[in-house]
Amino acid sequence: MEMKTAKKRGLSFYLSIYKKILAQDLKSKMSYRADFFISTFGMVLTNISGFITFIILFHNFPSVNGWDYHHMLFLYGFSLIALTPVQCFFDNNWNLRFMVRSGDFIKYCFRPINVFFYFISEVFDVKGLGQFVFGLGTFIYAWAHIGIPVTVVTVAEAAIFLITASLFMIALMNFAAATCFWIINSGYVMVIMFRFKDFAKYPSSIFNSVFRFIFTFLIPIAFVAYYPSLVFVTPDHVPLLSWLSPFIGSLFFFLSYKFWMLGVRKYDFTGS
């Protein structure tokens, strides 16, 4: 029997495929112009609304738990940037439960590439870039006002901590989306997780110890902005967890991926 061995598909293969799918996706998005503009407008509006909420709070209360306006702003900008990748690259998770339920999901299982990659690669959400720009502006403004030095080290640190911080929200949404393999109509899990992200922009020190534990180790929203921000905001007292956050983030993302794939393996595909 002629037995072909599986072709090797490494990182460079996946990168080039992603680039190609992305380019095609952008091309086809342009054909839905009205949606593109309304979505971008919606994204800008969401950010403005979030900002207004923020301003209204601090209009009444000048500091929270020892965090003054600019520190809060730094945290706010940090969280917006860290929440961009989940919006831009992992948006297809929102469609997962519909595809699983209708049976359409099965098409992702017939290709000789990673199912998670194939599924996630299919949607790139351009409007997330608006949030990125908004967040970056806030972040730089607060950075300058707090007076954090601009050196190769701090900038590199910022890049690393922002990227790894983004993994936490991605992982949370992976977990939430993958619940649909076990639970019918699990959309609310995603909605709830997505709502939790609102609290990424507040300092976790406001919680009591029980909830700080929950938001550090169970639903690690505190890692999206609070812990990594401490590296910049209070450089003299950085807790160990802040330094560890890149590793924890990578691990957490990996676990969420494993969970997602377990769902694919365990699912009955009785939809059709």
């Binding site: 029997m1 037995m3 072909k4 061995t5 599986a6 072709k7 598909r9 293969f13 080039s16 495929i17 190609k20 799918i21 095609q24 996706d25 091309k27 086809s28 998005k29 054909s31 049976g103 359409d104 099965i106 098409k107 299982c109 017939f110 290709r111 000789p112 590439i113 990673n114 299919e122 393996r265 009955d268 595909f269 009785t270 059709s272």
Partner: protein, 314 residues
């Protein structure tokens, strides 16, 4: 060296389903109940498929066809039994297995909805790492079999159902897989499109020697394409042999229609093993004037229907 591309030995697949209760009270009960029932979607099925065959895989709705296909493609893990596709266990080695298979599943397009077909082909070529030359040759072959130009630059979402099915089949063969699974490829299509799809499948099977597993409810597909058919019902295999053999296996039935003196038609199904047609006609002529006769072979469709209805009793 064996010719067998698929070997299934005593494969079973069970699902656990919650027993739901009726009505408002029942659904409150369900909130807490652990009352499951086991459904055997596939029950101890063994079969082998040889290289280059086109097999008609038949059975009534819910018989377990799709589940079998999902096991063969590595999407589902069987509950019991052994399966080898091209020497591999599909569920253990899904990625390697999918290099060598192509799938068209129901009416669900696997192509990128918003992309023109040619861009989908391009992406697939990259995903399956098809060498440039093979890809060009395949497109040439496609051109010789179907009219490719009208669909090549059209986004899939704008295609008619027929064009979409055609595109999906072409996409499934693009990386020249050893086995292609086609699940109801002609469902919902008009007569001429059905004919074109069948033509295409036969053409690709002949040129490329591709093994084809075809599930369908349309006996036209079976008659046009398959030499061998496998029938399953309630998860069990009830027939696995040549299509010719099916008719004789079931009995050599023919229908004799006669127009009598008063221009009315009468019909008589005749089992040729027991009595022959001429004898029936002679008997009839003793009492009636026969103006005209027609002799009809029993169709595959009728045979299949009798099997579905009567189980193994045939």
């Amino acid at each position: 060296m064996s010719n067998e591309v698929i070997v299934m030995k005593n494969i079973s697949k069970q699902f656990k389903v919650l027993n739901r209760h009726e009505g408002l009270k029942g659904s409150i009960q369900d909130l807490f109940s652990r009352d499951y029932k086991i459904i055997k979607a596939v029950d101890d099925v063994s079969l082998t498929v040889n290289k280059g065959e086109i097999i008609g895989y038949l059975g009534p709705n819910g018989a377990g066809k799709s589940t079998t296909i999902k096991i063969m493609t590595g999407v589902l893990e069987p509950s019991a039994g052994e399966i080898f596709v091209d020497g591999r266990m599909p569920y253990k080695d899904r990625t390697a297995n999918s290099e060598n298979i192509g799938v068209v599943f129901g009416q669900r397009s696997q192509l990128w909805w918003n992309l023109p077909l040619i861009e989908s082909f391009n992406l697939l070529r990259n995903i399956y790492l098809v060498p440039e030359k093979d890809y060009r040759n395949m497109l040439e072959l496609y051109r010789s079999l179907v009219d490719l130009e009208p669909i090549l630059h059209k986004p899939v979402r704008q295609m008619s159902l027929g064009q979409r099915t055609l595109s999906d089949i072409l996409a499934a063969f693009l990386h020249n897989p050893g086995i292609v699974f086609l699940d109801e490829p002609t469902i919902g299509l008009d007569v001429s499109m059905k004919a074109r799809i069948r033509e295409l499948i036969r053409g690709l099977n002949e040129v490329k020697g591709t093994t084809v597993i075809l599930t369908t409810h349309d006996m036209g597909d079976v008659d046009a394409l398959c030499k061998r058919i496998i029938i399953i019902d309630k998860g069990r295999k009830i027939y696995d042999n040549d299509i010719e053999h099916l008719k004789s296996y079931f009995g050599s039935y023919r229908t004799l229609r006669m127009r009598l003196g008063d221009d009315s038609w009468v019909e008589q199904v005749i089992d040729e093993k027991k009595t022959d047609v001429m004898h029936v006609m002679q008997e009839m002529q003793k009492e009636h004037k026969i103006k005209d006769i027609q002799l009809q072979e029993i169709s595959t469709e009728e045979v299949i229907r009798k099997i579905y209805e009567g189980g193994e009793s045939a």
